[in-house]
Amino acid sequence: MATEDDLTALRTGRDAARRKPVRPSRKIRPSASGVFAKKEIEARLGLKVHNPKSLVITPLLDKKKAIDADSVDLRLGTCFLLPRSLPEPYFSPDEDTATSLYVKVHVPLGRYLVVPAHQTVLGSTLEFIKLPCDASGEVLTKSSIARTFIVVETAPWIHPEYRGCLTLEIANVSNTPVLLYPGRPIGQLVLLHVDREHDPKAKIKSSYFGPVYPEAPPFQNPEKDLRKIGVPLTSVIRKGTIDGNGRFAPKRDHRQLG
């Protein structure tokens, strides 16, 4: 168990400085902390893939320019999920989301995708990434891209040992349609140390395991999610269509209605 003194000794702030210096016990070993620098990124990239501390970023084009002092540039991939106009006047995240909400589009290198004003699309990085067991990652919009009112936003955190191309929520927050060219740099990956060891017996989470295209979220139906926390009855809207005579034809749906 860590003692208060142990934790205090690990602090670097002013409060700790005022107290009598205490040597950290052997139970807590201060690890490397902070952001990975260029030297460490390169060293991790040089480790073999079976090493839990290895970092994989492939293909790393223009390596000299791609690796900055404390980050790695990421390029835009060629596949996108565009929001579909739904027949219903609402959207409910459920098991149909993957097939109902998106249109999959492939834009080859050398072509462009038009993102209308105030719209968001899902893209992915061109690079396939595997994070080390002792590092988390954060994806930031490249400053030059952000200055064109394009924002890579909202879910930028990557857990240790994640592998796959990163799904990017790309928002055009300007008043003008913007062209996106696959293959151009769009984001930066910043790696941060995490004080954890690789557990060889631990299994890898299979959701979002190794995607190479942007992926729709694997939602369950809301009543199923909420039943797990003891909610017995959940209101849902029946999906269906209204024909020319104003009659409602329900879509296949066996869900419990509230």
Partner: protein, 193 residues
């Protein structure tokens, strides 16, 4: 496949035994057989067995098919020479596969696209031919091993297997796309197609 159909030419197809014999001959010539004959696969024993057959029967005797086949076999070496002329890189494909297979499979086992393998500090890409063949070998022999590393995945569950097979295909396709990109940007020294 019955004993009789193995060596029989029907109205639309040559006898499977002849096709396998030609395949084995080609693989030996191109250096592939030396590499794949040790695989624990039923296909290896099937190829060996069928290639040993030399007598065929013909469904359409009266149309001179046997003579046609005989004539065709005499020109196969010339066709092969022309194919080699337009695909010279295939000559080194077997060698690259033999050298890189273990590394490619290791990448796949760790859920990583095998487009840039790290060998002694350098990072030449394996050729698409090597990636496709190694991925197929991995599919045949090591998919359960990969599934055992993942949470909630059972080898006996058809949906789980299907999902992972699709992943495997996607990683291989991505590897091939990356190879083209790395080649175009001058980062690749391997020859490929």
């Amino acid at each position: 496949m019955g004993e009789e159909t193995e060596a029989k030419f029907d109205a639309e197809h040559p006898a499977p035994a002849l096709r396998f014999r030609e395949q084995l001959h080609r693989m030996k010539e191109d250096g592939w057989w030396r590499i794949v004959q040790g695989l624990s696969s039923e296909h290896v024993s099937l190829v060996t067995k069928l290639a040993a057959k030399t007598k065929y029967s013909f469904e359409l005797q009266e149309k001179g098919i046997p003579e046609f086949i005989e004539a065709f076999q005499t020109i196969i070496p010339f066709i092969h020479a022309l194919v080699i002329e337009i695909t010279p890189h295939c000559g080194t494909a077997a060698k690259d596969f033999g050298r890189r297979r273990a590394e490619i499979e290791n990448c796949l086992l760790h859920g990583v696209v095998p487009s840039q393998l790290l060998v002694e500090g350098g990072a030449p890409s394996p050729t698409p031919v090597s990636m496709i063949n190694a991925a197929y070998c991995f599919y045949l022999t090591r998919l359960p091993e990969l599934m055992s590393r993942l949470e909630g995945q059972e080898d006996s569950n058809l949906k789980h297997r299907q999902n992972l097979i699709e992943r495997l295909e996607a990683w291989t396709m991505k590897g091939i796309e990356d190879f083209q990109l790395l080649g175009a940007s001058g980062k690749n020294t391997s020859s490929g197609n």
